[in-house]
Symmetry: D4
């Protein structure tokens, strides 16, 4: 199977989007990351998605901010499932990014995650879960990750008021 | 493969959520729909998801409105990918539903679609795309659906001003 | 000079977008309207804009709703100025359409008008003003339209309380 | 009577939630604080609430951020009154936390306080007021706290413009 | 024990607030409802709350819309726990009501419920839960109500697509 | 004539509210500032306003943040015109303060200014304008202030790009 | 004294703005209403305000919707106090009108009332209160109006649940 | 042809608005920048626009923040196309600026760009595109700018996870 493809609208989105890559790496899933801008390299949208289908990419993760058109435009050019990550915008704090990604019209879908790094990490997790629906090893690693999370919660320090 | 599982918080969500079922049916994907309320039947969350994993359900679609906890809580109990549909709320028009579903913390992911029927239909479409990553027949039907959509746009009537 | 090109994401946007056509007609500017969907006919974006540049289209007006990607994607494929009209969405009342159109990143611009019919009419007006910067006849008609508006305000009926 | 139970979705919520503990301490009400994550330890929700009912916990205070499901899910598993504190989220400043906690559907209630430390402190205060409805000593301490607040306002420094 | 006191800013709030009364009645808890306007009868705020404390009212439920000051002002005059219900406003759909009630400063608390009838019903439920913390009969009825809700979900009709 | 009365909910509002005092001072209008909390000293609302009417206070300026009830509650106790200043809140940036102050129901009015220091300064200005409607000297000073503002704009430095 | 001047951006704002006129009439204050559009008759802004100052108009009330520039622009041309009424807009429900009116920069002030008819009525009331600061008869009528409101609340019907 | 005219409400808007000037300079289009305040120098609006029409200014760019009336008021006084830039406001982050500029009523149009520096740069770009519709040299430079942007994306560094 080809690696999960992580695309983003700008080099400057990488500090957010690398959380998707890190999660995939932690879950033992291959990934590849590239910058493809819906607005600055619009002719690459189609060719990138055609190549991805030929390569057998199982999931595309796309992040963008502001009037974030990348996830929806990629989804328009492919039948591969596309997950969208709203990258926080400077002024409107990612509310614009979120609405631009999630409010897709009927017929072209983007599975949207939370604004920012948590959403990027969860895009990696959801991609692994998707692969895990058809790959028992990956599912097993998702279960193990969940168990780790659970234990971290269980073993946290005692909550006490600071001495006054 | 087991049918896609469509869950919703209330019987009253079905007029929205049936758009997911209809899309799956149109794409030749089996589905099953049930009411499971995060708040009124919380004990069913775990058992429903355990059963779904045993059955081999490939994708769960969950819809809820207001303080919409169902998709996130289902995701907490399973490694199956969960897609969330924000059902419009009466007062705040689904902005509450959207934020309650999409803003999940790192570690438990919900792939969120648009508010309302378009989002429900797209949840069905995205579920089919996920299955299509591993099933060439389903992918082929997604491609055919896209082609139909394209042709409907191309063959629309001429746009003219109403006679004054 | 080629007609102003009015594009919209869906046939269902025409009741809003025809206000642009009507305004252009009232100001004596040629127009042509077509449906081009960013999501359902993404391959038409580039060819439509290339043809428009060859034809000498002076301004493109584009309307769309929800995650409204059409105006920005058209702008990505052309140097013709693009004006965007946020079509009201059912649930979020066009706030999503507005943010998806106006919050473009640096490097690709969309001149955005108000949500709904007033914005569509003003897109027609602004297109005429743009042409009017280089065509004294059109500018003259804009001035005349302004004068008519002014007179309508000046000659309105007396404001009185309803008899109780 | 058992201590008021303060629960939160993450260790990182404690700097906010400790304001609830401090207020309870100041009002002479016993408390106990623990991390229980709706998403990472969902199986603990039911058992924690069953134990709380057996112990005779009079009020549960729960804080969480983002898609904040903890207060509502605890409320789903118990008849103990649950007070919810929206912990501020990084991007959307707690508007998501607030709506996720307060907009509960009919049948499962969460008494929601303000976003952030003020809300946490007031959750402690309201818990004490609830206990005070049935315990004259606690009510007396609430009255005394109010009187202190009043005096602090009355005895503030004179308001003057800074010398220019 | 005195009845739960249901107060509202205007006669016109009763269609919303009666859902609180109905819920209390269904749970076998006494209630009394009155109109007290923070703005039109501000001198009644203090006397009403002093009387309520003397009467032994265990919980006050207060509903108001727009710049909804009633719940917070009642809370300022009493140590009885106050629950607030944001009544939907005509233009801003209750977002103003919600923020005006929930965003109380540290030192005076209002336990806020959802906007509209669901919130009113839940205010009744939460009041019963509060009383139930000290009255085993009422708690028992809350548990029974929960069980009924659960069964209604379990026994809903089968979800099927409408015949096309 | 008695000084304009500037009231605020908390000592911590003074850095914002002193802009009202400064503007009044600049316009030669007497002022007096005090802390009166709607929530912590609710019994002072009525007496403060009764005293103000007796003293002949011409305008009251009131600032508060979050669930900002002070301006509206003062207005409920007096026929003196009340101007409201939304003090920025930490989490919601004063949107809560604004809606809590401006969305008053019919029958009790607050003339609301912008969020933050600009709004406070303008409250001082508007108070002076109100007095100026009946005092030619004050009006004259408002005109002079306007002229100064105009000249400052006219005499600004030339706008140039920074050398690159 | 000259009548209070009620201005609005469009004939279509009169159904909202007449509530200001009605309130003034009820309080025995003279008024005059006219349409002056900031955008369609911008040259009238200055002359209208100059005339108003010459006539001795004590207060200007201005209503507008959407990008509501009328109140602020009138205020820019006069030292008469200006009260602004946000007229509800079709799509964004008056949130745009409210922010366009209230968020004035330091140096030009508009005392803003609530969105819609309640705000218009309160603009009339506040204008009367302003006049009442200098006219004991008008103040007396404001007090009487308040008393009427109080009595209407006190004498409302008993609140009862509908028979089931 | 006369230079593009860049106007702004305050000297303090220049750090944002200079991005428009820089873009125009980069695209070889002449520009001139001035401060004209809708509120502090309202009498200059008309004369500035009359002069601009006489000079043959092809496009006006106007930036303002908060209750941003400048772009709309300039548009009211001219038939030259006006582009609006919402300058970020301190408290509401430019949402007020955006709505105050974009939501113009039918009959007076402002082509609105994104909030902040990106919007200012794009206003410069759109102005160049408008001129480019009638000037092949400028259009050529827009195409070249687009090509540069494209190449910058294509030649970005490889995206890699930081070494852990």
């Amino acid at each position: 199977m080809a690696p999960v493809l992580i695309l983003m609208g700008s080099q400057s989105d990488w500090p957010v989007m690398q959380h998707a890559a890190q999660m995939l790496k932690d879950l033992g899933v291959e990934w590849r990351a590239e910058v493809v801008s819906a607005h600055r390299t619009p002719d690459l949208l189609k060719t990138t998605m055609e190549q991805a289908e030929q390569d057998g990419v199982p999931v595309v993760i796309a992040g963008a901010g502001g009037a974030a058109h990348l996830p929806g435009m990629l989804a328009a050019f492919t039948a591969i499932p596309v997950l969208g990550v709203p990258v926080p915008s400077k002024q409107l704090k990612g509310l614009d990014s979120l609405l631009s990604i999630v409010q897709m019209p009927k017929g072209v879908a983007v599975g949207t995650l939370a604004v920012g790094p948590a959403g990027a990490a969860n895009a990696g997790l959801l991609a692994a879960q998707i692969i895990g629906s058809f790959d028992a090893n990956v599912r097993q690693r998702v279960h193990a990750f969940r168990e780790q999370q659970r234990e971290k919660v269980m073993n946290g320090p005692k909550l006490e008021l600071p001495e006054s």
